[in-house]
């Protein structure tokens, strides 16, 4: 360091260096102090502040509600939507700030509140005096809801006034409430939402994520002058869904389910016209659900109202475990059981009981109410399983034809029963149908013929086809509540694949009873989906209810195309099934009563014995009809199931066919199908009466052009027909010689003592087995 030191350089002195070190020490001390302060804040208040941070995330910033998307029908008319409503909020702190200066303004605000909202506030027990008292006692409170769910129209005038006079301390909080303009329409399908906009049942649940949006937020913050300002992140509204449901068609379906109920309720037992009634209408070439309903329905705007339960069998939910003598649990908590009276008959909910359920504050009563409501809310058409019965006969035949095991030209001799695996399995016509062809097997619904067809097919092929047709499997329709299906409780499979231990396999008696739809369970949606593929050329479509998703601004986000899953049978098999099923509704078939005047339809009836607690009591039946139209070129299908009709003799498919007849009489003209068949004067008169009775105001059905000519020469053909009818009357069936039961008007079979239907000759209550072994009962059956 021997550089030249310039003249005037002042050196940093030792004293200064010392002071500098002192300075650094002071800085070090300050840092240590601040570090200690940081540590003390974290250790002393860390937990408390952490909670504060979390809590103010919710409370110090307000959320802005989103608008849930709408549910629209196929013509985009509204089935469900969210209406913006407003809560009236009083902020006493703001209202009373600078009390002296704003005296006039406070009075002005109170007067305005009284003028515009007196009625709405009085619903909460609030009047002007109450507010004055409140303000006196709670001058620092910031939030009190004076009135709830006000519509925009209600608050508009006040808002104008408030902004004109620059009033403070009263503001509105926006909210949305869910509204269902059609009330009960399609209640099972649409479902409803909880108060916090979460879908609970039906489409509201299935499409909750799509219908729901994202809440916005409003935050408070301070600007440079420490003034509190607010900033907003807007909410994102939910998307809307367009369904395949036609609300007019749906209304028609529900109308005639209701008519059925009105006609049959309270007939032999108290309660509804049937335990359950369900109807599905679909477009067979797309899998779209056009209508889906069950009775009873409920008001979507008030789903918790128990008065809609009236007529349903009451359920009891156990709120505690029930123990037997040994202390083992006999009945588990949460199990639901039907309420029975002394004579072991079901108890039905009366208006008084409903009132009691609605008005009780008791926790247990509430629990029971919920259990019963849940039974009403669920969608019978997709959630409930039952034995389908003869509706499945076309499936049996289709399997035989498609696998080449039968040609369709076979004939079978029905002696009234067939012995399978040591059991005599009877035909519904215990006297035997004689020689029947495959076609007649379907037309007359002959069990023996079906058993022969199934035996010719064999278990291996039969089981494979059943699975391919989706029997015992979920359809994956876009609605919640399909039960888990493929278990041995529902259906036995050839290789026992759906049994836990693998040992419950399909045996020859299974094959025999499956051939006419007994011994296994399915849902309505499953059966109609399988049947659709038999009549549309073998194309198996996944059923669906939603066809389009729209953004909140109304633009299309996604089109949901029909989903073709597989080919179940060949085109030629399908043609034959249509041909066979068309005969069911013709002279000599079981489903003639389903045909609407002027139309030709096809279909299949079903009457299935119910197994109650493992016993077939021959009292309880599920009757049904699966139909399609037009007969020659099917486009739509309809399936009606009546679970235990309220009548003495339940085993009569007419309960179902009448509903189908009624629905199609109004629905086919609405859907634009022209009449193809001649209409006699008598029929025309009946039709007019029908239209008048049920208030059908839509245009009467068109008659197809080329029919005009024939109508001109209608006289001759009518005569011919009359002649024919006369001939048939001469050829009286054997049962017409039986004695007539004075009570029901049915004939009595002198051999069995059973009643005989005067139209079809079907012997009511006829049983498959004379002596039914009670242990493995579910296999045997009578069938229509």
């Amino acid at each position: 360091m021997k550089t030249v030191k310039t003249k005037n350089v002042q050196k940093f002195t030792i004293g200064m260096k010392k002071k500098l070190v002192v300075l650094f020490m002071l800085v070090l001390l300050a840092f240590a102090g601040l570090g200690a302060r940081l540590i003390s804040i974290t250790t002393n208040n860390g937990k408390e502040y952490e909670k504060k941070v979390l809590s103010q995330q919710r409370y110090d910033s307000t959320t802005i509600p989103y608008k849930r998307g709408s549910i629209l029908d196929c013509n985009e008319s509204t089935l469900a939507w969210s209406e913006k409503v407003y809560n009236l909020i009083l902020n006493a702190n703001v209202l009373l700030s600078d009390k002296e200066k704003n005296k006039d303004k406070i009075q002005l605000t109170l007067n305005a509140l009284n003028k515009y909202f007196a009625a709405q506030m009085s619903a909460n027990g609030i009047d002007l005096k109450w507010i004055q008292d409140y303000l006196e006692k709670n001058s620092d409170k910031k939030y009190y809801i004076l009135a709830k769910k006000l519509s925009y129209d209600e608050i508009k005038d006040f808002q104008d006034y408030a902004s004109k006079e620059n009033l403070k301390g009263v503001y509105f909080e926006a909210n949305y409430i869910r509204k269902y303009p059609e009330n009960t329409l399609a209640s099972d399908v649409i479902g409803f939402t909880s108060a916090d906009d979460v879908g609970q049942w039906g489409l509201e649940k299935q499409y909750n994520d799509i219908l729901g949006g994202v809440e916005g937020r409003e935050y408070g913050y301070l600007d440079d002058d420490l003034k509190l300002e607010r900033t907003t992140i807007p909410a994102i509204d939910g998307n809307s869904i367009v369904t395949t449901i036609d609300s007019h068609l749906q209304a028609v379906v529900e109308k005639y389910l209701n008519v059925f109920n009105e006609e049959n309720k309270g007939k032999v037992r108290p309660g509804n016209g049937a335990m359950n009634v369900g109807c599905i209408m679909t477009n067979i070439n797309t899998g779209e659900i056009l209508a889906m309903a069950s009775y009873p329905n409920f008001d979507l705007n008030n789903p918790w109202d128990a008065s809609k339960l009236v007529g349903m069998p009451e359920l009891h939910k156990y709120t505690e475990d029930v123990l037997d003598e040994d202390g083992n649990i006999k009945i588990h908590k949460g199990d639901v059981e039907q309420v029975k009276d002394d004579k072991d008959n079901p108890v039905y909910i009366t208006a008084e009981r409903a009132e009691q359920l609605n008005n009780s504050d008791d926790a247990d009563t509430y629990e029971q109410k919920v259990a019963n409501l849940q039974a009403m809310w669920k969608n019978f058409c997709i959630s409930d399983t039952y034995e389908p019965g003869s509706v499945s006969k076309p499936i049996t035949v289709a399997i035989g034809l498609d696998s080449g095991k039968i040609t369709g030209n076979e004939t079978y001799n029905c002696g009234g029963y067939l012995e399978v695996g040591g059991h005599k399995i009877h035909c519904h016509n215990t006297g035997g149908d004689g020689i029947v062809s495959v076609q007649q097997g379907i037309q007359k619904s002959c069990n023996v013929a079906m058993m022969h067809v199934a035996q010719a097919t064999g278990i291996h092929i039969f089981s494979k086809y059943q699975k391919n047709l989706g029997l015992g499997l979920k359809t994956n329709i876009d609605l919640p509540g399909e039960p888990f299906m493929d278990t041995d409780v529902m259906i036995h499979r050839e290789n026992g694949e759906n049994s836990k231990s693998g040992d419950v396999v399909m045996v020859p008696t299974d094959l025999a009873t499956y051939s006419f739809g007994q011994g296994y369970n399915c849902t309505m949606i499953e059966m109609i989906t399988a049947f659709n593929s038999l009549i549309n050329g073998g194309k198996f479509y996944q059923p669906h209810v939603v066809k389009k998703i729209l953004s909140s601004s109304g633009s299309t986000i996604k089109n949901i195309e029909p989903r073709l899953l597989k080919q179940t049978v060949s085109d030629s098999t399908s043609e034959k099934i249509v041909e066979y099923c068309n005969t069911v509704t013709q002279e000599g078939g079981t489903g003639t009563t389903a045909v609407p005047v002027g139309y030709k339809i096809g279909g299949k009836t079903g009457t299935a014995e119910m197994s109650i607690n493992g016993r077939r009591d021959k009292i309880n039946y599920v009757v049904s009809f699966m139909g399609y139209a037009p007969a020659d070129n099917p486009e739509i299908s309809i399936y009606v199931v009546v679970d235990r009709p309220n009548t003495i003799k339940q085993d009569n498919a007419r309960f179902a066919t009448t509903i189908v007849h009624n629905i199609l009489t109004e629905a086919l003209p609405y859907l634009g199908y022209p009449m193809t068949e001649e209409v006699t004067e008598k029929q025309q008169q009946e039709l007019n009466e029908f239209r008048e009775k049920y208030g059908i105001t839509s245009a009467p059905p068109k008659v197809e052009e080329n029919q005009e000519d024939e109508a001109a020469e209608g006289n001759s053909s009518e005569e011919q027909k009359e002649e024919k009818e006369e001939k048939e009357e001469n050829k009286e069936p054997i049962w017409k010689s039986f004695d007539v039961d004075p009570e029901t008007g049915y004939y009595i079979n002198p051999n069995t003592g059973n009643l005989v239907d005067p139209d079809s000759g079907y012997e009511l209550g006829s049983s498959a087995f004379e002596d039914e072994p009670s242990d493995d009962a579910p296999k045997e059956t009578a069938n229509n």
Binding site: L28, E48, Y49, L222, D223, T231
Partner: protein, 385 residues
């Protein structure tokens, strides 16, 4: 610590460059990079709301300023600091002129005129220029007064000039905190330059007593106070003023407390979501506490301590008095701002708007602070000459 004997420059003038303080440079670069990360973390939410969805608005602006600041630092580190003596008075005068101009031609932001619009560069804060000019001016003035400084009159003059500047800042820009910092820098420089402790202890005690009395008066006066007095009340009882002046402080405390030992993780702060207003500014340290916890906060404080330590080393080894005083001024500036900022954030003192050097958002501040460090580096270069 000292690294010697590294000859970096090959210039025609045979100057022996013996000392480059790498650890100082490392600390500076670390703090700058860390500051940018934290600014991005704290400001994205805010920028998204305020800047039409440009979530990196504040980050981009600060990045530009940091780049400019580094250029200024490199330039100043080659600029012979001896020449600064000649600029001392012109700089002082310029600062005064700019401060006077501020209320007249200044740009109003949030109701306060603290910025002057300058073509090309953008807007600058005259108060920041005043801070660097007071360092250079006081250093030059002490050398000029020499022995005179020991007389009460000389000392009075030495403290009078910066005091005038501080009053100008308070008057013209209504910025009390910058005035306090300018005064603090001058006092610390004089403290080191003059022998004896007595008067400083006395001064400190009387300032403390004055503050205590003021606080007492304000507390007894109750709620009917002015803008500043409410800040004092909010300082004593932030919970009681949670919706007013205590809001920011309370939110900052919540942030610190909720961070815990290791924090919620980088970018995970909840308090920056509108609760701590403009979290990228004065209150950025509380978000550091929330996201990185006590660990991160104390690490940052240690980095600042290291920075101050290195500056002290440079000052102690400075080739001449002027260089030493300059470095002490820079050191005082940074120490005061860091200490006051953290004190505010932890509610140790009443809330005044003081930014955290190198980390808080603010273009002018970072450019001038880096320029100051450039001077310090230049002094460091000449050690051992």
């Amino acid at each position: 610590m000292a690294r010697t004997g590294v000859n970096v420059l090959r210039r025609q003038r045979e100057r022996e460059e013996t000392y480059v303080d790498y650890s100082l440079i490392f600390v500076i670069l670390f703090l700058l990079a860390f500051g940018l990360v934290m600014i991005y973390s704290t400001s994205t939410y805010w920028a998204n709301l305020k800047m039409n969805g440009d979530s990196s608005y504040y980050f981009k602006h600060q990045f530009g300023a940091v780049f400019g600041g580094i250029v200024a630092m490199i330039f100043m580190s080659y600029f012979p600091y001896g020449l600064l003596r000649k600029f001392a008075f012109p700089l002082y005068a310029t600062s005064v002129v700019l401060l006077i101009l501020t209320p007249i031609i200044g740009r109003e932001v949030n109701g306060a005129k603290r910025w002057i619009q300058v073509p090309v560069i953008g807007s600058i804060q005259p108060a920041e220029i005043a801070k660097i000019s007071v360092i250079i001016f006081v250093a030059a003035f002490i050398l000029r007064l020499q022995k005179l400084l020991l007389t009460p009159k000389g000392y009075g003059v030495a403290i009078g000039f910066p005091a005038f500047l501080a009053i100008m800042i308070r008057m013209c820009t209504k910025n009390l905190s910058s005035a306090i910092i300018v005064m603090g820098i001058a006092v610390i420089m004089l403290f080191v330059a003059t022998p004896g402790y007595k008067r400083y202890v006395m001064a400190a005690l009387s300032v403390g007593a004055f503050a205590a009395v003021t606080v007492l008066i304000i507390v007894n006066a109750g709620a009917k106070g002015s803008f500043r007095s409410e800040r004092v009340l909010a300082w004593l009882d932030p919970q009681g003023h949670a919706t007013g002046k205590g809001f920011q402080t309370l939110q900052s405390l919540y942030a610190i407390g909720s961070g815990g030992t290791f924090g919620k993780g980088l970018g995970e702060s909840m308090q920056k979501m509108g609760f701590i207003p403009e979290a990228q500014n004065d209150m950025i340290f509380s978000v550091i506490c929330e996201e990185l916890g006590l660990f991160g906060a104390i690490a940052v404080m240690l980095m600042f301590l290291l920075l101050i330590w290195r500056l002290m080393i440079i000052a102690n080894n400075a080739p001449d008095m002027f260089g030493a005083l300059l470095v002490i001024g820079v050191m005082a500036h940074i120490a005061i701002q860091v200490i006051l900022n953290i004190a505010v954030v932890t509610n140790t003192i009443p809330n005044t708007g003081i930014t955290l050097p190198f980390i808080s958002y603010g273009g002018t501040a970072v450019v001038f602070q880096l320029a100051e460090l450039g001077i310090a580096l230049n002094v460091g270069r000449n050690i051992g000459r």
